[in-house]
Structures are given as structure tokens and as C-alpha cells.
């Protein structure tokens, strides 16, 4: 299905982004009367064009947006910054853009879009610790920004600081407790923390127990959630394996693993659900076509690793 210009194109695969950017001439020559979706369309078209390197169309979108909302609009300022970031060719030009951001923020330090752009630019230039400091400052004065908490978590995660990443994700969940994908994400981070922590069986078990809960919650919030069942399957497989290895871990009361029977039943459930999803999406059954093909392929691989006949 053709991608829609009404949604942010950041997550699209390259081929679909290209498809979007190729609509540029049509959209830019569109009717002069203003419609509801027009400016969202322009903004997303701008992003798609920048990504595919069509700077000319991007500049046209930018001019239209600026003509409509004025160059002092905070969102337009951020987009303008994005444009110059994309066109900067060397580090010196990037520094210049950064200085520009600083100058804007000196005038108005509550300009959120520019603050976020500055953080993203710092991160893109490899100055991760500066980005983290700026992000923490931003969260100090705007602690209800779920997107910023999520970015902070990702920043820590890429640095391997799992406990901080988990903390930031928990903050995201406080702000949007129904976000099933964030529950699954938290479960994934906890699972990765458990696999890398190596020494100290206690903390490893704790992470696994938490991850189990998170995946279960994501499934509770969303029927047939492939990502949630995938994670659940990973965690239960690992827990069952470890129980076979070391018969009894001392319970220190801080966390409680569900008893082995429950884990086994969860494992069976996840296996059944995963194979159902894989079967239906392989056959392209009606009503099962929403899943990402790569995710389905990963699930199939996981099932075949565990030697389950489909």
C-alpha cells in the first residue's frame, strides 16, 4: 500500500521514502486553496525530500511553510535548522549551525523545537555526553516530555548504560502508560541487560523477571502483538533453560519469579500464538496482513531454532 504523506516518514524503508519524495512536484503544484492536511503534508514532504537528497524540492517546501507561518514560528525555525544541517558539508558548517542554535536559544531559552534540534545535532556530531547533559537539562524544565525521555533512554542505551536507559523508559511509561510498544521496548532493554550483565546471577534474574512482566503487559494491552509474544518467548525459553541448569536460586524477596509451571504455560502460549501469526501471515490471510514482513521472518526463525514444527 502506498505510504501516506500525512504521517512522519522517519520509520519508512528507503523505497517508500523515495516514493513519497517523488510526489513532490505534484504536491507543490497543488491547488492554492488551503486544506486541513496541507501543512502536515508539506512538513512530511520536506522530511522525505531531505532524506532522499532532493534539496531543491525541500527548499520549495520550506519557503511555502515560511511564507505561511513566518520565520519566527518555532517549528519553522527547527525545520530551517534541519535544512541547513542536511546541507552542511563539513564539520565547520555544522559548528556554524550549532552556533546559530545557541544564538536562538540565548534569545529564547524555552524554544523547545530548537532545543531538541540542538541535542540531535550534538548527538549526530558524536558529542554524546554533551547531548546527554543538554537532554537532562531539557527534562529538568520540561519533565512531561515523553519523546525526550525516550530519546534519553536511547542515548543511554547506545552507550551500554542499561539501568539508566531502563529508568528513562519507565518515565516514558509513567507519561503514556498505554503505549504497548514502549512496554515491549522496555522488556527488550531489560532482556538485553540480563544477557550482558553476565556476573551476578541475582541482578540477571531480576531483569528477566521484570522483562517477563513487561512483555506480558504489552500483550495485555494489544491482542496478537507479535513483538510482545516474540519477547515473551525469548524470556521464557531462557528462564526455563536456567532453571534446568541451577536448580534453585535463593529468593531474596526483592523480586519474585513466577513458579516454573506458570512460565511453562506462558512459553506454550507464546509458541502457539507465534506459530499462529506466522502461519496466517505467510498465507497472507485476510485480516492478518498488518505485520512487518521482517518481524514475521524473525519469528519464523525463532520458532525453527526451537525445533517446532509448523
Amino acid at each position: 500500500m502506498a505510504p501516506s504523506l500525512l504521517f512522519n516518514p522517519a520509520k519508512l524503508p528507503p523505497s517508500e521514502a523515495l516514493q513519497l519524495a517523488q510526489q513532490a512536484p505534484v504536491v507543490l503544484q497543488g491547488s492554492s486553496s488551503e486544506t486541513v492536511d496541507q501543512w502536515a503534508t508539506y512538513e512530511n514532504l520536506l522530511l522525505a525530500c531531505l532524506r532522499t537528497g532532493d534539496d531543491e524540492a525541500a527548499a520549495k517546501c520550506m519557503d511555502q511553510l515560511e511564507a505561511r507561518f513566518g520565520p519566527d514560528n518555532e517549528r519553522v525555525m527547527a525545520l530551517r535548522g534541519l535544512l541547513s544541517e542536511a546541507q552542511a558539508e563539513n564539520n565547520g558548517e555544522l559548528e556554524a549551525v550549532l552556533k546559530q542554535y545557541d544564538a536562538i536559544l540565548e534569545g529564547n531559552s524555552t524554544n523547545l523545537p530548537i532545543t531538541k534540534r540542538r541535542i540531535a545535532l550534538l548527538r549526530s556530531m558524536g558529542r554524546v555526553s554533551d547531548a546527554a547533559t543538554a537532554l537532562v537539562q531539557l527534562l529538568d524544565f520540561s519533565p512531561t516530555d515523553a519523546e525526550a525521555w525516550s530519546e534519553l533512554s536511547d542515548l543511554y542505551f547506545t552507550q551500554g548504560l542499561y539501568s539508566q536507559a531502563i529508568y528513562a523508559l519507565e518515565e516514558v511509561l509513567l507519561l503514556s502508560p498505554n503505549a504497548w510498544n514502549i512496554h515491549a521496548r522496555l522488556g527488550e532493554v531489560q532482556y538485553m541487560a540480563a544477557t550482558t550483565s553476565g556476573s551476578g546471577g541475582g541482578s540477571q534474574q531480576k531483569y528477566l523477571a521484570e522483562a517477563l512482566k513487561r512483555f506480558a503487559r504489552s500483550i495485555e494491552l494489544c491482542d496478537d502483538y507479535l513483538r510482545g509474544y516474540y519477547g515473551l518467548k525469548l524470556v521464557t525459553t531462557r528462564l526455563l533453560k536456567e532453571q534446568a541448569k541451577q536448580a534453585k536460586q535463593t529468593d531474596d524477596g526483592e523480586f519474585t519469579l513466577p513458579d516454573p509451571k506458570t512460565i511453562e504455560r506462558l512459553d506454550e502460549l507464546a509458541t502457539a500464538k507465534l506459530s499462529e501469526i506466522v502461519r496466517h501471515s505467510t498465507l497472507k490471510d485476510r485480516g492478518w496482513r498488518g505485520y512487518d514482513e521482517r518481524e514475521v521472518a524473525a519469528a519464523r526463525e525463532l520458532l525453527s531454532q526451537n525445533g517446532i514444527e509448523r
Binding site: 500500500m1 520509520k11 531531505l50 542536511a86 530519546e151 504497548w180 494489544c222 498488518g290
Partner: protein, 145 residues
Amino acid sequence: MTWISNTITVFGGLLLAHACYSAQEHAALQSFRAAATSTLTSSTPVASSLPVDIAIETIVATLVIVLGLVLGTRPLRPIQWRVWAGKIEREGEEGFLGNNGEVEKDYMGNPFTYLESRPSFVDIRRQRKEFAEWIKNGGGDAGKK
């Protein structure tokens, strides 16, 4: 299934039209009779009411039309969070088609994806680099069809 509901609705419409026609004919007959009797004998015109069968036909026709329309509606949207979310994940855009076969205007997929794509923090330079590499690796041919 749509043809069943359509036939029922059309049938109900025919019934209703028939009832209306009968009522109109009845009224015309009554006024003609009244005019005829009043010229012959100067008695007061008889109070005329609609025959019961016409009234019943009207009511039945209305019910049949309602039945046809109700059968013809699309399934209602889920009102439970997990069912709704599951529908988004499982069916994607296909689960949210309007009556005209296009995706409904207010469909937006998972409303929380922005927490993972984080559009305000987009790293446009990396995206450009990745896209250029994708083109270099021959991905552009697939996209140009």
C-alpha cells in the same frame, strides 16, 4: 452480504411506496364520495380514517427498511483498548477502510510510534547517508518501477 441488505432495503422501500399510494387513493376516493353524497343529500360528511391494513403496511415497511440498513452497516469499531490495538497490529490499514474503500481519515496506526521514531530528534545526516548507500547498492532500481 451486501446484496441481502440491499434487497431487504429495496423491498421495504417498495412496501412503503405501496402504502403511501394506497393511502393517497383512499383519501381521493373518500373526498369523491363525500362530494357525491353532499350534492345528493345535504348531510354532514362521514369522518373517514385510514384502513388498518394500510397503517400496518406502513409500519412493517419502516421496520423492514431499518432492518435492511442495519444489516448493511460496516462492523462497529472495537471499544476495548486491547482489541483495537490488536486490530492495528494485525490488520494494519486494511482493518480501517471506510465505506468508500479508502483508509479512514482518522486512522493513524499505532499512536505511540512517535515515541520510538522521535521526529523532533531526527538525525537527518545519518538518514541521508543511509539512503545514499541504499541507492548505491542498487536499491534505487527496485524503487523506480
